[in-house]
């Protein structure tokens, strides 16, 4: 790890100005992605600004037709929240499927979204459930947030403050984990929402995406059997040590059906 200066601001403004003043600064939340990167000297930063001291960023609130999860809320807290489980069980289950207990006790939803790992689970929840990402300067719709591999609509220095999930009519998440890391080889979130059926696929491609053919089939008939005969193309999907593009394309359909079944 290269040397850096550590800061722990107690307000959003302080955090933002610390970053603005830093030569090459980075926010840190759970540190589950940033710390390994720093340890392996794959990144060099001058300042690390810990968001953990900003009280307003943490916590879960149920507000009528939506549920709000603060940016520094840990995966384990989302998984264990009775409110989340009652309102959107699929979200609690998704959080519970992330990594291992140590990762879930440290990692945060804000860090996961800002990082936008192609195999991360939360992007599927945000995109599939049509959530809104709130930052210290604006609100970003899920469809606009994920722009590419490890890329998001966030501007430099912009801080995610919370994520607002509208309650779906039903939703289900199914994941095929990587046996080593437990990230998603393929994860599919399906949801019947006020704005129609949404299907978000993570792990399979360079960035989370909506599977429009699956959405179309489910809009007509929200059942697993409605997906018989539907396929996704392997063309733009990832191939690596753990799964070829062809296998991933197959798994997308299997997971989509299982997610529909889980949604009930």
């Amino acid at each position: 790890m290269y040397d850096f200066t550590y800061h722990r601001p107690s307000s959003l403004d302080e955090a933002a100005s610390l970053l603005a003043g830093a030569e090459d600064g980075q926010f840190i939340a759970g540190g589950q992605t940033l710390l390994p990167t720093l340890k392996q000297r794959l990144a060099r930063v001058t300042d690390v600004i810990d968001l953990g001291g900003i009280g307003e960023l943490s916590g879960i609130a149920v507000l009528g037709s939506r549920i709000e999860v603060g940016a520094t809320t840990r995966h384990a807290d989302v998984a264990a929240s009775a409110d989340v489980r009652n309102a959107i069980a699929a979200l609690a289950e998704l959080a519970d499927s992330i990594g291992d207990p140590q990762v879930r006790n440290q990692g945060t939803i804000g860090g996961s979204l800002a990082n936008n790992d192609p195999a991360a689970d939360y992007p599927a929840a945000v995109l599939g459930l049509n959530a809104t990402v709130h930052t210290n300067s604006r609100e970003i719709a899920a469809d606009d947030f994920f722009t590419g591999m490890f890329e998001t609509a966030l501007d430099a220095g912009e801080i995610i403050t919370k994520v607002s999930f509208p309650l779906p009519e039903k939703a289900g998440y199914a994941k095929f984990p990587n046996p080593a890391s437990r990230y998603a080889i393929v994860g599919v979130m399906v949801a019947a929402t006020g704005s129609g059926v949404r299907v978000a696929v993570t792990g399979a491609g360079p960035c989370v995406f909506r599977a429009r053919d699956i959405e179309g089939a489910l809009a007509a008939d929200f059942s697993a059997s409605a997906l018989d005969g539907v396929t996704v193309s392997a063309d733009k999907l990832n191939s690596d040590l753990h799964a070829s593009a062809e296998y991933r394309a197959h798994l997308v359909m299997v997971m989509a059906k299982r997610a529909v079944a889980a949604a009930g």
Binding site: Y2, A180, V254
Partner: protein, 787 residues
């Protein structure tokens, strides 16, 4: 205060320490004034080193010393020799052993090979400086697979070694095998891969070295399995000093499995730096570097051929194996794919003839050395896979085919065509018992339930027979102190298996003293004059017998003291359960020990300390642990995901000293076997020779949720007469039986899909592909080009 017996499930003494953070592992050791070392490792699989520029690095803050291969040679240090038990090719010539120095000398031959050692005030400063070293490489073509390395036109790893061939070994009567094949009703051939894996001990390797200029002696704390042998290599071969000048200590070691067996290069680097700088030097490997630089295991490609008569009786077995061993001969590297995999060919089956040929081949990869079982899991996998394959191909029931060919008890003792003396056991009984356990667990019902849930169900049974190994001699020392403490020092070593409990249990039970009085010592060249460390399931078999022998010598001496106290003749005193009885009166061992410190109570020819004893036990023949595994699996046909849902084992380890510890060995070995069978694999890129699976994000270690509950039983009806305790070695057996049990169970699940073979690891994608296309997994001709 507790009395313990042999065979009792005594709980592990060491666990409280380990589980509450009080273990003392290598990274817990810090010395006054210590500096930190880090290794610059090769980033290329094969390249000429044109130059190494350390000028900028030497200027970096806190840097104390940088050593390169050239510096090392200039110091006159020597290479580390292999201790391979076989050194002769089948034509009688000597194996090829290129010099294995601690550093790459002018050429790197695998990714991760040490190029320089940087010592600085702190680890961070050393890493900072390491980044400033500029190495100018000219890349050479690399070859990472053993079979590919043998093929004509393959890149040469050593200019003067043809075909990259290190050792070409054979065993058995090839002509008898040929004759049997000639008249056989059926000959079945299967090419298979035993995938390359690595042990991933939870504690990475590391060491802390120091030097005392006054006495000119070194002290080396080291996360190693083998203090004595490695001290000799470091001192005599590398540093060229007397081995008594190196005090080598292994503190608590967090797992070894063979990967901490070898003499590794970083220890001499740290020793040299400690002397040069006159301050202690500590080095700890990172996890990624562990993947790059720990020894790997398995990694064999084989052609297995089985000849049967019309009734399914086995007539002959022929196995030809190629094992890539990395770029150098490590401590026993050439041994594993050759003699190490030969000895137990044929398993517990009655074979009139067997022929084995094994070639150890240089490759541009990390070194190969023992990994739990080292050759016996490979041999068991070969025989069990070919039987399963033959059964499917020829239409025999796989259980019946095994039953028919197991050696019956009245055939024992029997020397196999591989020269292994199988002295005792009851293979059919162990086999039937294992099947019985699985039946009791409701196998049929489970199968039905799996099918109703849309899953394929598979079951397989895998009898195994293996043999022990490792250094044949062991020392145990017993020392008594006034006040009651008894020290027990043993030259074999636990890296987590629980010797602190089992060895103490043995001594306490034998002497009839309280278990808590025993203080256990191991892993220290000054505590025992010799020591074979850890390896080859030798702990109880050799170390335990040394303890028993020492205990018996103590009892003999104590009898004289007891006779004096009881005013009887020594011959009239009997000892049992911790009590000496003369005519009428009796005295306990504890009382005798106490009396041994009082000159007034001792006979004239004895003085205080007279009970202290050191005993050396020497093994005659290796013992033959055996048993039977059975596994049940469910396969999700939509994803190819395999779940092991049931596991049954009956083991014949001879006498069981502590069933709790034996269970731990069996479970751990099976967990490793499940890992290798389903998810673990070291993968090098074929072209670049880069290690692709260099972290736990990509290397699929098994996890608790992938390991089922196991039903474990012991057959204790056949203690071996090869050693006084009648023990057969338990440490590796779990790994030996589990590979074929799991793989054959998966193939059983897929039999109606027409799938006959899939090479390990049986990853979901491979299984899914095989279901879609039964020939996707093979078998294919892997060996044709090199036979």
């Amino acid at each position: 205060m507790t009395r313990v017996e042999i065979g009792q499930a005594v709980r592990r003494q060491e666990d409280f320490r380990f589980l509450t953070g009080r273990g003392r592992y290598i990274d817990d050791i810090d010395m006054e004034g210590q500096a930190r070392g880090v290794v610059l490792r090769s980033s290329h699989a094969h390249a000429v080193i044109n130059s190494i520029d350390v000028a900028d690095a030497l200027e970096a803050p806190g840097v104390l010393l940088i050593v390169t291969g050239r510096d090392w040679i200039a110091e006159g240090f020597g290479p580390m020799p292999t201790k391979s038990g076989v050194r002769k090719n089948r034509d009688g010539s000597e194996l090829h052993e290129p010099p294995r120095h601690c550093f790459a000398i002018d050429r790197v031959r695998y990714v991760g090979e040490p190029v320089a050692f940087v010592v600085a005030e702190t680890e961070a400063a050393a890493i900072e400086a390491r980044d400033l070293i500029v190495v100018d490489y000219d890349e050479l073509p690399a070859v990472v697979d053993g079979v590919a390395a043998l093929k004509p036109g393959a890149p040469r790893i050593w200019d003067d070694i043809p075909a990259n061939l290190c050792l070409d070994f054979e065993l058995g009567d090839e002509r008898a095998v040929d004759a049997a094949f000639g008249k056989a009703a059926h000959v079945v051939t299967l090419d298979l891969v035993n995938n390359r894996v690595t042990a991933v001990p939870i504690e990475p390797r590391g060491c802390v070295a120091s030097y005392d200029p006054e006495t000119e002696t070194f002290t080396l704390y080291n996360a190693t399995q083998n203090v004595h042998a490695n001290a000799a290599t470091f001192a005599e071969n590398v540093l060229k000093i007397d081995k008594d000048r190196l005090h080598h200590i292994a503190p608590d070691v967090g797992g070894g499995f063979g990967a901490k067996n070898s003499a590794y290069p970083e220890s001499p680097m740290a020793l040299y730096a400690a002397r040069k700088l006159n301050r202690p030097v500590k080095w700890i490997n990172s996890r990624i570097e562990s993947f790059l630089s720990d020894t790997h295991g398995r990694g064999q490609t084989s052609r297995v051929q089985l000849a049967l008569d019309g009734d399914g009786r086995f007539l002959a077995l022929r196995t030809e194996t190629v094992g890539g061993i990395g770029a150098y001969c490590w401590t026993v590297g050439p041994f594993t794919p050759t003699a190490g995999s030969a000895r137990t060919q044929g398993g517990p089956y009655d074979f009139p003839a067997i022929y084995y040929r094994g070639r150890a081949v240089f490759t541009n990869t990390a070194p190969m050395d023992p990994y739990r079982g080292a050759g016996r899991p490979e041999a068991t996998f070969q025989i069990e896979r070919i039987i399963e394959f033959a059964a499917r191909k020829l239409g025999f029931d796989p259980v019946e085919l095994r039953r028919k060919n197991l050696m019956p008890p009245d055939m024992l003792p029997h020397t196999t065509p591989m020269g292994l003396n199988v002295d005792c056991g009851d293979f059919p009984r162990v086999f039937e018992r294992t099947l019985g356990l699985a039946d009791q667990a409701g196998l049929a019902e489970r199968a039905g339930s799996a099918r109703r849930r849309g899953r394929r169900f598979g079951f397989a049974v895998a009898p195994y027979l293996e043999c022990t190994g490792g250094g044949p001699r062991e020392y145990a020392g017993v020392g008594f102190r006034a006040g009651g403490a008894i020290s027990l020092s043993v030259g074999s070593q636990s890296t987590g298996m629980g010797h602190e409990t089992s060895m103490a249990q043995l001594l306490a039970a034998r002497l009839g003293v309280d278990f808590e009085r025993i203080e256990y010592h191991q892993g220290d060249t000054e505590k025992t004059p010799i020591g074979g460390g850890h390896g080859g399931s030798r702990g109880l078999e050799i170390g335990g017998n040394a303890v028993a022998q020492a205990a018996d010598e103590v009892i003999g001496k104590a009898k004289a003291v007891a006779a004096h106290l009881l005013q009887s003749r020594t011959d009239d005193v009997a000892f049992a359960a911790g009590v000496f009885r003369g005519s009428g009166a009796s005295v306990s061992m504890a009382e005798v020990i106490e009396a041994s410190f009082d000159p007034k109570l001792l006979p004239g020819n004895l003085s205080p300390g007279c009970l202290d004893t050191g005993a050396t036990f020497e093994r005659g023949e290796v013992s033959v642990p055996n048993g039977c595994h059975a596994a049940a699996v469910e396969v999700d046909p939509e994803t190819g995901f395999v779940e092991v849902v049931g596991y049954w084992v009956v083991d014949d380890f001879g006498t069981i000293i502590n069933p709790l510890l034996a269970d731990g060995q069996v479970m751990g070995g099976i967990a490793q076997g499940i890992g290798q069978a389903l998810s673990e694999e070291i993968v090098y890129d074929e072209d670049s020779g880069q290690l692709i699976t260099a972290s736990l994000m990509d290397y699929g270690l098994p996890r608790a949720d992938g390991v089922p509950n196991m039903v474990i039983e012991y057959y204790q009806g056949a203690p071996t007469a090869k050693n006084p305790l009648g023990v057969k070695g338990a440490g590796e057996a779990g790994c030996v039986g589990s590979l074929p049990a799991v793989v054959n169970a998966v193939l059983d699940a897929l039999k109606d899909d027409g799938v006959r073979h899939i090479d390990m690891p049986l990853t979901p994608e491979k299984v899914w592909r095989a279901i879609a296309d039964p020939n996707a997994g093979g078998p294919v001709d892997l060996m044709g080009d090199v036979l």
